[in-house]
């Protein structure tokens, strides 16, 4: 049996002269996602990409699941690829479609004949196929208005394809087509969702996590590895820099007014992240901030954090409600990881009464008391570099 994946490109088909770059990137990302499952061949025709397994042992269900997470795809289906001959089509249909039809009550057939040399017309194809399926599955009734299952027969230029419907793809643009950005990730619910949203717009991700041992535990860092592995299922390989932050936090705690702890800390984090971004050729920062969610995310607080930076900061959650964020977090399977109860860098030394309407002058003044340059340099120097893939929660260590 020759089963393939039929993949319909999404938004990128609207691109003009640079459409090829988008298609090439999509193909590259798909190759990377499917390679662990075995050898594959790929073939573009118009806006449809065929992924053809090179061995009968390839797990098609796993391949479909991975395809569903690749950005830039509008829809995809598992389909049977056959020679363009009606007898063969009719003979193969009952056994291939039995999984889809066994538990259905009603069905209909839909034929698409882009090769007009094919002897039968679309309604005739449907008629013959319908009859064969009704005979093979006597419990089925035809319902052309609201069928449980729609059987598609596509007669294309080289082959005919048979499938039981298309699944919705992850949408968006292929990762890598928009460049690369640095994600600030603590371990909460928001940052993985922000990462997912920006990767869907084509950004490749590099993540920065701040670790403050012993105030934060090795488990908090492991949690970040797991979150990024979940995100990497969509975004492909994610690079992670783990930045030691204890000294910074201890000095902030010692020398700055308590109500400004969090904001001074966030400005420090943003600046470190920016330094890493510039060094790694990333063009923006991504955070999970949402307007008004906590004291450090009021308009005034965001303005203060922002003014520490020159690179643009993407905050895709800025206008979202927590429930909407949680809904996405559940969908991308990061929620259950995010709610594990470990201290993270953001919950260490939280002030009892943080300032909600800070002025920039207060912060710049507070920061004058810090050995800023030394702390920044030490943090960057101590950063550990890891590479995280969807398959591997265990990241491989490399020189930074």
């Amino acid at each position: 049996m020759n089963e393939v994946l039929l993949i319909k490109a999404g938004e990128l088909v609207l691109k003009g002269l640079n459409r090829r770059t988008f298609e090439d990137q999509l193909l590259k990302n798909l190759r990377r996602a499917l390679r662990p499952l075995g050898p594959w061949q790929y073939h573009w025709s118009q806006s449809t990409l065929q992924a053809i397994p090179g061995a009968p042992s390839v797990n098609m269900a796993a391949a479909a699941e991975k395809t569903g997470k690749v950005f830039g795809i509008a829809g995809y289906s598992r389909a049977l690829r056959l020679p363009k001959d009606m007898t063969t089509l009719l003979a193969a249909a009952p056994s291939y479609l039995s999984d889809a039809l066994r538990f259905a009550r009603t069905f209909k057939c839909e034929a698409k004949r882009s090769d007009k040399r094919f002897p039968l017309r679309s309604p005739q194809i449907c008629e013959e196929m319908g009859e064969v399926l009704c005979n093979a599955f006597p419990h089925l009734r035809v319902d052309v208005r609201q069928p449980d299952v729609t059987i598609h027969i596509e007669i294309r230029d080289q082959y005919a394809f048979l499938h039981a419907g298309q699944l919705r793809g992850a949408g968006g643009l292929p990762v890598g087509t928009a460049g690369e950005a640095v994600l600030l990730i603590s371990g909460g619910i928001d940052s993985p969702v922000a990462a997912w949203m920006m990767a869907r717009r084509g950004l490749r991700l590099t993540a920065v996590h701040f670790a403050s041992p012993p105030y934060t535990s090795p488990r908090a860092e492991e949690k970040v590895h797991k979150l990024l592995a979940a995100v990497a299922g969509y975004a492909g390989r994610v690079r992670l820099f783990v930045v030691p932050f204890t000294a910074f936090q201890e000095q902030i705690r010692e020398r700055c007014p308590e109500d400004l702890f969090t904001l001074v800390m966030r400005r420090a984090m943003m600046r470190i992240a920016e330094q890493i971004a510039l060094r790694e050729n990333c063009g923006a920062l991504i955070t999970g901030e949402s307007l008004g969610q906590v004291a450090s995310q009021t308009l005034q607080a965001l303005a203060c954090t922002n003014s520490a930076l020159t690179l643009p900061v993407f905050r895709p959650l800025v206008g979202m409600d927590k429930n909407e964020t949680i809904e996405i977090a559940r969908k991308i399977e990061t929620f259950e990881i995010s709610v594990l109860p470990y201290e993270d860098c953001c919950t260490v030394f939280t002030p009892r009464h943080p300032r909600t309407k800070p002025k920039l002058s207060m912060l710049t003044q507070a920061e004058q008391s810090l050995d800023w340059d030394i702390l920044l340099a030490d943090a960057l120097k101590g950063a550990q570099f890891l590479s995280i893939e969807a398959e591997g929660v265990q990241p491989c260590k490399r020189e930074s």
């Binding site: 012993p214 934060t216 535990s217 201890e250 705690r253 010692e254 594990l340 201290e343 260490v348 030394f349």
Partner: protein, 376 residues
């Protein structure tokens, strides 16, 4: 050097236990219910195990029902007793400081229409006998009280339950969660006047995955699992023989409780003397608590920070109880401790294998933590 001072969470299996498990896995792997020779050998192993665990509780073998551990035994006790006596009353009495496998089972029974009365504790973490007597009425069908509290080590007045139940004329079964007391105190349920008593293997240097419920002869419980006649139909399913064999071997290897307690008592004295030299450390366990377990607070420091700091130095303790990861201690709250004390609580738990060096390593690391960590 590593110092493992978290023996109330779990204990390292003793040599006797691992050897017995090895034997059960390699040679005596039969199904005790099978009629053939391999099954018979396994059945004999099960009989021996039951006798050994019974002996450790001065009980009869047929009063021992093996379970997967303390949590399952507690569930069987509560749900099994409530179902068996539901026609004779609706009240269930437990303390406010029970292990979550009791507290959450009771909460579930409450949603099923039972009335649950929670007994508070004093500043020593102890339930008062007067309050206990007041709570038990003629409608009471079950009283459950732990022998030793798992977070602070307070001893509970389990011995007074029988009198209180008799005095109230209650049709109540008496259950004792003795997981933290087993092997550390001489336990004889018949002498204590309890009908049901929970013990667990992995707190006495046995493997995880085995525990037992003592059910006094003549007491009937409703099963909570169905599907076979094992364990008198109370715990159907093929017996976990390697775990049970390891459990029994660990029970057999238990030393005389008084002698072990005398040794652990000297460790506790060393620990307390050392703690008193570290500024700002508060000891939450009452002086008359079980010596195996000491709860302290370092106000101004967070438990999790301390744990991370100590763990990096090879010293393993826990915050409150290992089961309540990330939650505020109900026990310390019930004892009336303040927020800083609860947030900075640590539990140091010892075993008969603990050494003076381990105590010293802990004291050294805690002193270092006190001097280097920033206070909140």
């Amino acid at each position: 050097m590593e110092a493992y001072l978290d023996n109330s969470a779990t204990t390292p299996p003793c040599r006797e236990a691992t050897e017995a498990m090895q034997e059960a896995l390699t040679h005596l792997w039969g199904n005790p219910s099978s009629l053939h020779q391999a099954g018979l050998a396994a059945e004999h192993l099960l009989q021996d195990a039951r006798a050994l665990v019974a002996a450790s509780l001065s009980a009869k073998p047929d009063e021992i029902t093996f379970t997967s551990g303390g949590t399952e035994a507690n569930n069987l006790a509560l749900f099994g007793a409530a179902a068996a006596r539901r026609r004779r009353g609706r009240r269930i009495v437990i303390s406010a400081v029970e292990h979550s496998s009791i507290a959450e089972s009771a909460a579930e029974l409450q949603t099923r229409g039972f009335e649950v009365v929670y007994l508070g504790v004093d500043s020593k973490g102890r339930v008062s006998e007067q309050e206990l007597a007041r709570a038990i009425n003629a409608e009471t069908i079950l009283v459950s009280l732990m022998a030793v509290n798992n977070e602070v080590g307070s001893l509970q007045p389990v011995d007074s339950l029988r009198r209180a139940v008799r005095y109230a004329g209650a049709p109540a079964l008496i259950h004792c969660d003795a997981v933290q007391a087993y092997g550390k105190l001489a336990l004889a349920p018949q002498h204590m006047g309890v009908d049901l008593l929970t013990v667990s293997s992995h707190k006495i240097h046995g493997p995880k995955g085995a525990g037992a419920l003592y059910i006094r002869k003549g007491v009937k419980l409703q099963p909570i699992l169905f599907g076979g006649s094992q364990e008198g139909k109370l715990r159907p399913g093929t017996e976990a023989m390697p775990a049970i064999a390891g459990f029994a071997a660990a029970a057999k290897a238990l030393p005389n409780p008084q002698q072990a307690l005398a040794y652990v008592g000297t460790l506790r004295e060393r620990l307390v003397a050392g703690l008193q030299t570290i500024k700002g450390v508060r000891i939450n366990s009452p002086a008359d608590s079980l010596a195996y377990l000491t709860n302290i607070s370092v106000p101004g420091l967070m438990s999790e920070t301390l744990l991370n700091f100590l763990s990096a130095r090879g010293v393993y303790v826990s915050a409150g109880s290992a089961c309540a990861k990330g939650k505020k201690s109900r026990v310390l709250q019930a004892m009336g401790l303040g927020e800083p004390e609860i947030n900075g609580a640590l539990r140091i738990s010892l075993s008969r294998y603990t050494t003076c060096d381990e105590i010293d390593a802990f004291l050294f690391a805690l002193t270092e933590a006190r001097h280097t960590l920033a206070h909140t």
